[in-house]
């Protein structure tokens, strides 16, 4: 009976981990798809706001004022936000561009940095990297 319970627990533990991994992967795919479709949506909105078709007789309605977009953070700002939380900041000239690429992979995993932000920080560091 104990052996049966033990097997049941093993099965539950393994299945639970597998289901959780599958859910995370499915959610990530949905996020990737949502990120990919965003530019298309904005392009469609731009086309819609651009005016009437050539055959239209009605005058085009004036485009609605766009919502004020939040300012996108630069690589330098993201570097200041993330890196100094755990260690003194390093100078971009301390590493080559290739080394920064390797280090940013390491830091993206270790500090759980969002991919887009890690890429911005990498671009900032590589601009002034050492040779």
């Amino acid at each position: 009976m104990n052996r049966l319970n033990s097997l049941k627990w093993r099965w539950r533990a393994g299945a639970g981990l597998a289901v959780m991994a599958a859910l995370i992967y499915a959610a990530s795919l949905a996020l990737v798809a949502a990120t990919d479709t965003k530019p298309t949506d904005s392009k469609a909105a731009d086309t819609k706001a651009a005016g009437a078709k050539p055959g239209d007789t009605k005058p085009a309605s004036p485009p609605k004022p766009a919502k004020k977009k939040a300012k996108k953070l630069t690589g330098a700002e993201l570097y200041a936000i993330h890196c100094n939380r755990c260690h003194p900041e390093r100078y971009a000239t301390e590493r080559t561009a290739a080394q920064w690429q390797t280090l940013m992979l390491h830091m993206r995993v270790r500090a759980n940095l969002p991919a887009a932000q890690a890429k911005e920080i990498l671009r900032y560091l590589q601009e002034d990297s050492g040779s």
């Binding site: 104990n2 033990s6 627990w9 093993r10 533990a13 393994g14 639970g16 981990l17 959780m20 991994a21 995370i24 992967y25 959610a27 990530s28 795919l29 996020l31 990737v32 990120t35 977009k69 939040a70 300012k71 996108k72 953070l73 700002e77 993201l78 200041a80 936000i81 993330h82 100094n84 939380r85 755990c86 260690h87 003194p88 900041e89 390093r90 100078y91 290739a98 080394q99 690429q101 390797t102 280090l103 992979l105 390491h106 993206r108 995993v109 270790r110 500090a111 759980n112 940095l113 969002p114 991919a115 887009a116 932000q117």
Partner: protein, 452 residues
Amino acid sequence: MKISSLIPGVITAGCAISLALPPRAAAQVSTNDFNALKQMVEHLNEKVDKLEQTHEQDQKTHEQDQQKIQQLQQQLGETQIAVTNAVQKAEAATQVQPVHPVPPSAGPSAQQNFMVVGDAEVHFGKVDGSHGAFALADFAPIFLFRARDNVLFEAGFDVTLQNNADQNGNRTAGHSTSVDLSFGQLDYLWNDYVTVVGGYMLLPLGTYTERSAGWLNKIPDDPLPRGVLPSNGAGLQLRGAVPVGQAGQSITYSVFGVNGPSSADGTGNADQLDLDSNVGFKNDGTFGNLHGSPSGGGRIGWFYPWQAHYDVELGVSGQTGTWDDADKRRWSAAVLDAAVHLSPNVELKGEYINTWAETDNMGTIHPRGWWVQLAYKLAGLNLELPVINNVELVGRYDTVKDGLGTNTDRYTAGYVYYFSNTLLFEGDYEFLSSNDPTQNHNDFVFQLSYGF
């Protein structure tokens, strides 16, 4: 007589008339004829002008055509050269075709890079009742190998020295070097939101192990309650971050399955709980978990910065699984972690840790504790003094109950002096009190750290 006298008069009159008449009068042309001729000449002039203009245009067109022909001839020549080169290169390439060609789906060619980072620490410590001593506290290189843009292998080691001792703990001659693998893992960045980590990895129970160890923390030794948690585990992990908005906020997650804690002697007795040593290979050389079930866990965190150097991070993490060889006793842990930065100069962070271990001999025990650490850089005083500006004051309180009856509290006060952004000198005094009298002591600890 009269006729002969008229003859000279007639001749003279004739001459006079002939002289008085204009010469054209000799060839008489009518006005109409003259005008017709004049119009004809004007028409002819206009036609000549038009012909001259047409000729000039034809000449220009001809010149342009000739230029185009020259350009086309040059392009043709360049194309012929390019074709010749391509043919030569293709012939050369076919001669050095790899035995195992890279499939088209493999993406761009690998951009490999290898580098070493890490840190090293030198200690000087003085414990009440014993002599002070220098020590190489730690040499901790991290090897990073980037195989592709989304594949990284990383391995971290801890190299330390210690005096030799016999089995009873008595000093013997010589010293030994220990080399411990603190992590060795393969990171595969699956997409922007999921990274797969496999191998022997640091566990995301709280954030201390992953982000504060070694030279990163401002106090040389670890908080006491970290001792009731495993630092590492062999297994697999999924982790990543989802950005929230454009201001740098993010939700982070980690989910892992590892072998989990084990029992030193296989039993479920409380004093046999072994947190870090179930790495997959048994003493007899066989491969397998020391107990039957894997141990699962994870962490979810929220990071909210409102500007650079001003942020809050909160996290909750945990792990659970069996630990005895019979697979009957469960070990579980829950950790709350928090960190706040209120300027470039103020940092407050801490963790609350609770664990539960079912045992054969003591029921369920609760090793637990918490710690909080405050740091302030004197540069925030704006005194513009070079030495003062490089000093950071640090204080920490940590406490642990080991679940077996020993309770320990510790107060630490110290400083960090920054020679540079990578070379630090730390000095601390620790007041430690415990209900076990043998553990009561106060320490001086000094540490020179270098991060590379």
